[in-house]
């Protein structure tokens, strides 16, 4: 079928129209709002202000001088820390699993992948809520402790950083396993045989053959886990008790409760900057990968 440039543009026009107006435009409006003046009744007043960005770092002292305020920086650092630990934990848990599945016969492999994907498509809110039943005082685990004669509340992890971490790992683990599996599935297992024939130990083979071959999956999986983790709202809200523990909850709070649009918008912009940086690192790492492959 002959198609002209015009008909090509017509084909993608609906996507441009819908995503452009209702996806991209709101992001630019948000950027503008982050530089406006807060209207205490919600919304904004016209006029330039970088108050929102100052508020992230400072508070005003009684004599109007700026005082460094670490509270939001701490939330940001906690978010980054929790997201980083989540990413590493997902990798540690996911890599052996992806490797095991990749080595199964095809029928079994497909079944395993279905089992990995089902939670991925199940409502995140509900999957996180289910952890409350397990982690809370008098919950599934605590009840077992009580049956053994321990005091009620011996096991009570709810509303702790550990609970948030469990929730995050649980939420995003499939995002790690899927790309890892995709890169390991294509792997030529004769390479491990070759390594073994050349007297490499199992661990040397893992370190020098499997992990380098899984690298594209490791990079993609880390990105797919890190980005949603850093902006997570549900896990810190339900399992952390919603004490504004992470950037996602901080943003949510500004709109749902504090009605400070410029500040909420500014924090969102900051989050977007992190995402952009992560994407840039990803692109850089991927390019390095391409060069390394070309060099062989």
């Amino acid at each position: 079928m002959q198609r002209t440039a015009t008909s090509n543009w017509l084909g993608v026009a609906p996507a441009w129209f819908v995503i452009g107006i209702f996806g991209v435009l709101p992001m630019f409006i948000m950027l503008a709002i982050s530089f406006m003046v807060q209207d205490p009744y919600g919304g904004v007043e016209w006029g330039y202000s970088h108050e929102a960005y100052i508020q992230f770092l400072f508070e005003y002292d009684l004599d109007d001088s700026l005082l460094f305020n670490p509270i939001y920086i701490n939330i940001m650092l906690r978010s980054m820390g929790l997201a980083a630990i989540t990413t590493v934990l997902c990798l540690i848990v996911g890599l052996p699993v992806a490797y095991f599945i990749a080595r199964q016969p095809e029928e079994k492999r497909n079944l395993f992948m279905l089992l990995v994907t089902i939670p991925f498509w199940t409502n995140l809110l509900i999957r996180t809520y289910a952890w409350i039943l397990i982690l809370t005082r008098n919950g599934v685990i605590d009840a077992r402790f009580q049956a053994l004669g321990f005091e009620p509340g011996t096991f009570d992890l709810l509303y702790t950083n550990e609970a948030i971490l469990i929730g995050l790992v649980y939420s995003y683990l499939p995002f790690m396993v899927l790309p890892l599996y995709a890169s390991l599935e294509k792997m030529d297992f004769r390479l491990i045989e070759a390594a073994s024939d050349l007297y490499a130990s199992k661990w040397q083979a893992a370190r020098h053959v499997i992990i380098p071959l899984a690298k594209p999956g490791i990079i993609a999986g880390s990105l797919l886990v890190f980005i949603p983790s850093i902006g997570a709202f549900i896990a810190p809200d339900l399992l952390g008790g919603g004490k504004r523990l992470m950037l996602g909850s901080l943003i949510h709070f500004q709109f749902a409760t504090a009605r400070n649009w410029p500040f909420g918008a500014a924090v969102s912009i900051l989050l977007m900057v992190f995402v952009m940086v992560a994407l840039l690192i990803y692109n850089r790492a991927n390019k390095g990968q391409g060069v390394a492959m070309g060099g062989h």
Binding site: P26, V116, V275
Partner: protein, 266 residues
Amino acid sequence: MRAPVGHYPGLKLWTALFFVFLYAPMVVLVGYSFNDNRLAMIWGGFSTRWYTKVFSTSGIAEAALNSLMVAIVATSFATAIAISAALVLVREAKFKGAGPSMALISMPLIVPEIVTAVATLMFFVMLRNWVGFDLGLGNIMIAHSVFCIPFAFMPIRARLQDMDVTLEHAARDLYASAWNAFRHVTLPLLMPGVIAGAMLAFVISFDDFIITQMISGPGTTTLPVYIYSMIRQGVTPEVNAASTILIIVSTVLVTVYWYVSRPKKT
């Protein structure tokens, strides 16, 4: 005998534990939804009464209906838009707008949900205040259409990439109009991809919580938003039953999707 090459001890156990971790919370939730005891955490025998209760709660029925309408409309729009874009982006190698178009379509996947949620909220509030634009449930349908497009797009693109263009060329050679060739040759061949994409879009829309919660108001509550408001009031058997219903809907849809989209052995 020497263990096979590439075999590591404990892998099987590790994978088994992984699946326990993945499924235990859901199993616990489903199990407790059949708990007769009003105190959700203390087992009081088997009962299905909470399901009857859930179905007779008026708010839930309305929320479920809203969810269904939003998901159907968003899925239809997203799938149509995705088909149109995929036909160009897969087939037209020389199209200059391909790169930017791909970036645009993937955008909803890259932006954290909470950011999309608040940006959309501010946008809709401004539209309402300045030009009086407020479609109620329609606003939610629009927002869902945006983030459903990439999910509908991916399986459709994958199917198109594997598809043979010669049949379509043959139809055109036999004087079929462009529309007829599309309608009677391309679309039927593309159907498995379309069904798969539509199902993914449907699940994504039906499950969405963060974005919907931000932009929904009175009368436009969806099922996940309703369940969240129940969860806020504490662990109750009703929440467990309502959640179990959602888990079953998603599981069935994804399993069907998996069977439909699985590569056929030839």
